[in-house]
């Protein structure tokens, strides 16, 4: 059971502290930007540009986002003493293995993007968080205000097109477009022509709820995996269009126990179809990976 006073406290904290952090620093909580941007330095991604790859730190910080519930009290105490971006070392960090894995994923997403958008850049330490958490928790006014700031932020830096790497960021931009008329064109990297993308392996796909039921990408994802040479095992009752259950990720920030229960249930149904699962979202990966062998699409392909 979720404690009611705990929810009230969390709501106030998000409204008063996390939103303030976003307003001041474009980040919901302190994070280690050196870790988050290391992949781009290694890949030699140009800084800035008219077209940018926008990660919103989702792949780099998914383990931290998952433990947001535990993180909130620390965020609150740090905010009270007036620190933020410089204190990443005091917070939960992804492990070295997790950082390495995220780096592989992002380098491949970058390579896919570069094939059809030569010269695509990245904002490195300046990159802002998308604000997805505000929308998901119903802070609509704050979400809209933050969206206006984001649009201005990108325009000042000369950004004319945004390529996103995950469903939550893509959905945030789609919601900004719907709610405030966000005018910068954006696409998810999966929507780009998959030039030279090949891979191998046999998987059951766990569809991200956002990709399959909000952004209508169910067919695109199956076509993409098939064209890349991956063997996909589907079962209409487990992975059919619109049918797939959630990994439990969206509930993680407020109730990690129930979120884990959902992940276990989803992993068991996926296992009944195939021993190894394929995901397209860093939060799906985080939730499911303790219970079933799982890979992200961008780590099993070679662009």
């Amino acid at each position: 059971m979720v404690d009611e006073s705990s929810i009230k406290g969390t709501l106030k904290l998000i409204r008063d502290v996390v939103y303030k952090n976003l307003t001041n620093e474009y980040l919901p909580f302190p994070m280690d930007k050196a870790l988050a941007t290391k992949w781009a330095y290694e890949a030699g991604v140009p800084k800035g540009g008219r077209v940018i790859l926008y990660t919103s730190y989702m792949y780099q910080m998914a383990p931290v986002f998952k433990s947001f519930e535990k993180l909130l009290p620390t965020v609150g105490s740090l905010a009270r003493i007036g620190f933020l971006a410089s204190l990443g070392s005091r917070l939960v960090k992804p492990s070295d293995a997790e950082v390495k894995r995220a780096s592989t994923v992002l380098k491949n997403i970058y390579a896919i993007t570069r094939a059809s958008r030569p010269g695509v850049g990245y904002l490195y330490e300046e990159e802002p968080y998308s604000g997805a958490l505000l929308y998901e928790l119903g802070f609509i006014d704050e979400f809209k205000e933050y969206g206006k700031r984001l649009e201005e932020f990108f325009k000042i830096r000369g950004v004319e097109e945004i390529i996103t790497a995950d469903p939550h960021t893509t959905f945030s931009l789609a919601n900004y477009k719907r709610l405030i008329g966000f005018s910068i064109p954006f696409k998810n990297y999966l929507e780009l022509p998959p030039i030279g993308v090949t891979g191998k392996g046999r998987f059951v796909i766990h569809d991200s709820c956002i990709y399959s039921r909000f952004l209508n990408m169910y067919d695109l994802i199956r076509q993409l995996t098939k064209d890349a040479g991956l063997e996909i095992v589907d079962d209409e009752k487990v992975t059919g269009r619109g049918i797939g259950f959630c990994c439990g990720g969206p509930l993680g920030p407020l109730n990690s126990k129930i979120s884990d229960e959902m992940a276990k249930a989803r992993a068991n149904s996926l296992k009944s179809v195939n021993p190894e699962a394929l995901v397209f979202c860093p939060l799906c990966y985080e939730n499911l990976s303790p219970y079933i062998p799982v890979k992200d699409f961008a780590e099993v392909i070679s662009p």
Binding site: E4, I7, E136, G138, F139, L179, C209, C246, L251, N255
Partner: protein
């Protein structure tokens, strides 16, 4: 949507629910909460309607509304097309105003 439009949206959307319950068994949150009706999509819609009518307090609804994954799985089964995931986002907005205080 402004606040007035949010209230109108919540009212018209929650009134579309015919309480058939086709959504209930498809909800991963309901399944993980011991299959209690309170954690079902149908309950979230009913509680939202109750909050607007004044028969349910935000304190009584908050746990149900915040236990939704907003995964939209229930919409697939709904014969009247109630998008509980979107309704929940705006029900949270309503609750946030009441429990965390008005924005800014």
């Amino acid at each position: 949507m402004n606040e007035e439009e949010v209230l109108a949206y919540l009212k018209s959307t929650s009134e579309k629910c015919i309480r058939c319950g086709f959504c209930v068994q498809t909800c991963p949150s309901w399944n993980s909460h011991g299959k209690l009706e309170y954690y079902s999509p149908r309950a979230r819609v009913t509680l939202t309607r109750g909050m607007l009518e004044g028969s349910v307090s935000p304190e009584d609804a908050v746990e149900s509304i915040y236990s939704c994954n907003t995964c939209r799985r229930c919409l697939v089964e709904c014969p009247t097309g109630v998008d509980t995931a979107e309704l929940v986002i705006y029900a949270r907005y309503y609750i946030n105003q009441k429990l965390a205080g008005p924005s800014k």
